[in-house]
């Protein structure tokens, strides 16, 4: 398709969703002039509910973009505005350079049929259809011949590992199995952009963990552009390439997981990061010692390795480890730099991110 990793797939610009009361007057005169916070405040005073307030972000091709927030933070509203299950009050959603919010109903159906897939928290399976027919449902809506439906559905059934359960009905399956059906259904049309709305929140912790691994495995082979919603900070850290934290409809902070942990924008974000096992989240590139010089005797490690993985090597190589990126030396990690980075975390949250 000629898309590369840096291309923007989906872009959300100044997105607002306001419930109750007509908010139109605000958008004629005040957006852009008044600050987001003040404007939201004023809307609330007028009895309106700004569920999403001036949300901006880009999703790059092949990237997992996670929106994290507690219930009522507006994350589900945002993803529903992106897929137009809810009509946004103001703003733009640009998919492949075209504003989705301006599309006609007919075009929208076409886009949903060929470009978008969505997975739901409670699976959203059709109770009257078998596993197979649920998965083939989007294909049959398009009126594809049965043979082609079977062929395409078979492929995703294999991908999510549901072989042998095709004739079961949703209520006969466990939660994890049901969500596999949901995932397979959303992938059956080979979407380019994939929305997942808290896909694992309704599952038991152990199954959740397993499904996250499955999800990452699938993503490694498919390289979709993904918007993933969750209320679980640890899940976000595991999965995200980049993430965004929302609160009361507003974006609190956006960045890579490491950036967020190392440098939380405010106490709200900091609270989430408190329980996070730093050694797992911090990457080698986050803890480079600016003073150390690389030497040929030092072992080499990739910059994306977690600190936890570096620890055994550091124990045997007191002078440090060379950190490589794209074949070149990026810097050196020493025991001292790791300790000070970790210590830094616990004492001075909000300090500078090590380069």
């Amino acid at each position: 398709m000629g898309e590369t990793k840096d291309d923007v797939k989906l872009s959300c610009r100044n997105l607002w969703k306001v419930y109750k009361s007509s908010a139109a007057p605000y958008f004629k005169s005040e957006v852009g002039k008044t600050g987001v916070k003040e404007l939201s405040e004023r809307m609330r005073e007028d009895g309106a509910i700004p569920a999403a307030a001036d949300v901006n972000f880009d999703v790059h091709v092949g990237e997992i973009f996670v929106i994290m927030g507690l219930s009522g933070s507006g994350k589900s509203t945002v993803v529903r505005c992106l897929s137009r299950l809810i009509e946004a009050t103001h703003g733009e959603v640009v998919l492949d350079g075209e504003d989705l919010l301006k599309k006609s109903d007919k075009d929208l159906i076409d886009i949903r049929r060929h470009k978008m897939g969505m997975v739901f928290q409670n699976f959203g399976l059709m109770p009257h259809l078998s596993v197979f027919d649920n998965i083939a449902f989007p294909l049959s809506l398009q009126g594809l011949p049965r043979k082609e439906q079977i062929e395409k559905a078979r492929r995703v059934i294999e991908l999510v590992g549901l072989e042998g359960r095709e004739t079961a009905y949703p209520r006969q399956l466990s939660g994890g199995q049901q969500q596999r059906v949901g995932i397979a259904r959303s992938l059956a049309i080979e979407p380019e952009i994939w929305f997942l709305d808290e896909p694992f929140s309704a599952l038991d912790p152990l199954i959740r963990r397993q499904m996250q691994d499955e999800f990452l495995r699938i993503q490694r082979s498919l390289r979709k552009s993904i918007v993933f919603i969750t209320h679980d900070f640890l899940e976000a850290l595991r999965i995200a390439d980049r993430m965004m934290i929302m609160r009361d409809g507003q974006v609190v902070q956006m960045g890579t997981p490491a950036e967020l942990i190392v440098n939380p924008a405010d106490d709200y974000v900091a609270e989430f990061t408190e329980e996070v096992p730093m050694v797992r989240v911090l990457k080698a590139r986050n803890v480079i010692d600016p003073d150390a010089q690389p030497a040929d005797t030092m072992p080499e490690q990739d910059s994306e390795r977690s600190v936890e993985q570096l620890l055994p090597l550091l124990a045997s190589h007191k002078d440090g480890i060379r950190i490589m990126r794209d074949g070149a030396v990026m810097g050196v990690v020493t025991a001292g730099s790791v300790i000070s980075a970790l210590a830094h975390q616990d004492t001075h949250r909000g300090a500078e991110v090590p380069a």
Binding site: N122, H128, L141
Partner: protein, 690 residues
């Protein structure tokens, strides 16, 4: 309790006024009895309106009528032409396909009974009406339900109309249909469509509403267009609920088809029951009644099983034959048996000489019982009549005489009654508070003077006050206007007679039913016995319930009372048991852990918590009682039911419809009051979700 003050005062005032009006009765009779000369000419007005309707729209309705009569007679002839053996085979197979062997055997025996007893063609004539009216009713119901789902305004119009159609007694709208559509079986068809479509509307709405938001969203994200979303996501997801509606619609249609046979000229099974009942051939009417009951049960079980059936595991690369296997087998069986019937003629037309019709033995048995136990029967009857029914109806004041109670109601005794009443009121006020004391005072007054002798202005005011107390000004206004309509249209005395009979039946049914329900919730064995009995009583068309009581106690109010109770007791039992069995387990566990005995657990934890649900049972008991009241008019009651019946018999539209509306009004007021009370309690206890 402070907010109750004004109500307490108002109740005191109303009871005092009642006594005052009764005292002044000799000088100002209008205070107690609504004068004849004040009655508004509503009945004649309605009659001339109807005449005008018939003149203007008559041809239009008659055109519909003749259009409908074509498919009707086609189905009728087809069902009568079809060899009984084929019908028997197909019904049995259908029962097997949707449920299993048990239902198949039951269906087989039921259909065979119809054949052997010799009511085959009558049964098929009834079935033909059902076969046409159910699809029509489902179609209308589905369309209206969908409309109401999408448009709030449509819902606001449809809901009260349905309430009215289902609470106005069926007899009352047979007449306008008769006048508009002309005489014939089509009347039964139209009436049963009108009566039967509301359950489909309700369940369609409910089903469509209950489709989870995420399923809709999943449909949208799969790229469904608006029609695809409706037909391929919403409707199939709601199908189970819709089918439950179809089951209820079928039962309603069937019961109306039976009721409509009162018009005659249809040669169906309902007519058979009625005409034999009128000739006091109770054995015959019981045998025919059993046919109706069996038909009802078979239809109910098959449609209910179809609604709740688990879908079979599909085969992926399915061929036409494997996808439609069941249909192909059914067709094969049908054709096979039909061919066999050509060879063996008794499979085609069941020979008359093979029929078994034990009516005579039944009649003899009944006669034997009635003669042998004549004393006991008449004792039960008179005891109930003199000591329970009459006091409530016309009061102790008029009931007690040497002829009835064996002694005179002397002034001394009257004073003693008054003294006892005052003492009881005082005791209640001291132990239970003012409201309870007022209730006792009202009961004492009622028992002394009789419900039908109480002054209309204070009864109207009391009903209005009660509505206000239970729900609010809106219901109070509705009650005032509704009862006001009954009063000014001149059917107040009949309405009181209906309320008396129905009220008594409801009270007794609820007392007995709730007790049984409570016992059933404690003892699984009793529950297992009661369940099939309840199921049977509930699916039984109302007519049939009359027969056994009629056989033994003959015509009269007591028979009516028993018949109403037999039908109205079912919801009282069911709701009581349901309410008690569905109390949150953690509450019971907590109470047990604290150390409640079984008795304490029941009285101090379970009953208070189950009370709102039991009140819903009371609500249903009242509704069932009112429904049965009209049917019971056939065995000799006075009141609104009888007026409806007279209206139908004389072809007097106004009389019938005023009485019918009166019953609907009473039903709706009672419904809203009990619902409001139950909801209030439920919210207070935090048990309701909304």
């Amino acid at each position: 309790m402070n907010h109750l003050r004004p109500f307490t005062l108002a109740w005191c005032l109303l009871i005092a006024l009642t006594l005052a009006f009764l005292a002044l009765q000799r000088w100002a009779g209008w205070l107690v009895v609504y004068p004849e000369s004040w009655v508004m000419p509503i009945t004649p007005l309605l009659n001339s309106f109807m005449e005008w309707c018939v003149d203007v729209f008559g041809p239009f309705f008659r055109a519909i009528s003749s259009a409908l009569s074509i498919p009707m007679s086609a189905v009728r002839e087809f069902l009568n032409w079809l060899p009984w053996s084929v019908t028997l085979t197909l019904v049995t197979f259908a029962a097997y396909a949707v449920s299993g062997w048990q239902l198949a055997i039951f269906s087989f025996i039921s259909v065979l009974y119809m054949v052997v007893i010799g009511y085959w063609h009558e049964s098929m004539n009834s079935l033909a009406l059902v076969a046409i009216s159910v699809p029509l009713a489902v179609l209308v119901g589905f369309a209206l339900g969908t409309l109401a789902f999408y448009s709030d305004r449509a819902e606001r119009a449809i809901k009260p109309t349905m309430d009215l159609l289902q609470t106005v007694p069926a007899f009352a709208y047979l007449l306008p249909i008769l006048l508009l559509f002309g005489f014939g079986p089509v009347v039964g068809l139209i009436a049963s469509v009108l009566y039967a479509f509301p359950p489909t509307v309700r369940n369609t709405m409910l089903g469509l509403r209950r489709v989870p938001q995420e399923v809709i969203e999943a449909g949208l994200m799969s790229g469904a267009t608006a029609p695809q979303l409706f037909w391929r996501v919403r409707v199939p997801s709601a199908m189970r609920q819709i089918l439950l509606g179809v089951n209820q619609t079928t039962m309603a249609a069937f019961s109306m088809v039976i009721i409509a046979s009162i018009i005659g000229g249809t040669a169906d099974i309902g007519w058979e029951v009625l005409s034999t009942m009128r000739k006091a051939q109770f054995g015959e009417s019981l045998l025919a009644g059993i046919v109706i009951a069996l038909m009802a049960m078979v239809m109910d079980r098959i449609t209910a099983a179809a609604a709740t059936a688990e879908p079979k595991e599909p085969v992926l690369d399915e061929s036409f034959a494997s996808r439609h296997r069941m249909w192909l087998i059914a067709a094969g069986l049908g054709i096979g048996v039909a061919l066999l019937a050509q060879v063996l003629p008794f499979l085609n037309e069941y020979p008359r000489s093979w029929e078994i019709f034990p009516a005579r033995y039944l009649n003899d048995a009944v006669t034997y019982i009635v003669v042998e136990f004549a004393d006991l029967i008449s004792m039960i009857k008179t005891a109930a009549f003199f000591f329970v029914m009459l006091p409530v109806k016309i009061g102790l004041q008029e009931t007690i005489s040497p002829f009835t109670w064996g002694f005179e109601f002397t002034t001394t005794l009257k004073l003693a009654y008054a003294a006892a009443a005052v003492a009881l009121i005082g005791l209640t006020a001291w132990r239970r508070g003012m409201m309870a004391a007022l209730f006792v005072a009202f009961c004492a007054t009622l028992l002394y003077f009789g419900l039908t002798r109480l002054p209309w202005p204070t009864l109207l005011a009391m009903a209005t006050l009660l509505s206000w107390q239970l729900s609010g000004p809106k219901l109070a206004l509705g009650t005032f206007l509704g009862l006001g309509f009954i009063i000014i249209s001149g059917v107040w005395p009949q309405a009181l007679l209906s309320i008396y009979l129905c009220g008594l039946a409801v009270l007794l049914s609820f007392a007995i039913g709730a007790t049984l329900g409570i016992l059933a919730s404690e003892f699984d064995g009793l529950s297992a016995i009661l369940r099939p009995v309840n199921d049977t009583l509930q699916t039984m068309p109302l007519f049939v319930l009359l027969i056994p009581f009629l056989m033994i106690f003959k015509i009269g109010e007591f028979t009516a009372l028993l018949a109403i109770m037999a039908y109205a007791i079912v919801p009282a039992i069911r709701y009581a048991e349901h309410g008690l069995r569905n109390i949150p387990a953690h509450v019971i566990e907590a109470a047990t852990a604290i150390g409640c005995t079984r008795r304490q657990l029941l009285w101090r934890v379970k009953l208070p918590l189950a009370l709102p649900v039991m009140m819903l049972g009371l609500n249903q008991t009242i509704m069932f009682g009112i429904a049965m009241l009209v049917i019971a008019a056939l065995v000799g009651t006075n009141g609104l039911g009888q007026r409806v019946y007279i209206g139908l018999g004389d072809g007097d539209f106004g009389v019938g419809i005023v009485a019918g509306l009166g019953m609907a009004i009473i039903a709706m007021i009672a419904d809203r009051m009990t619902q409001a009370w139950s909801q209030k309690r439920q919210q207070e206890l935090g048990l309701s979700s909304d």
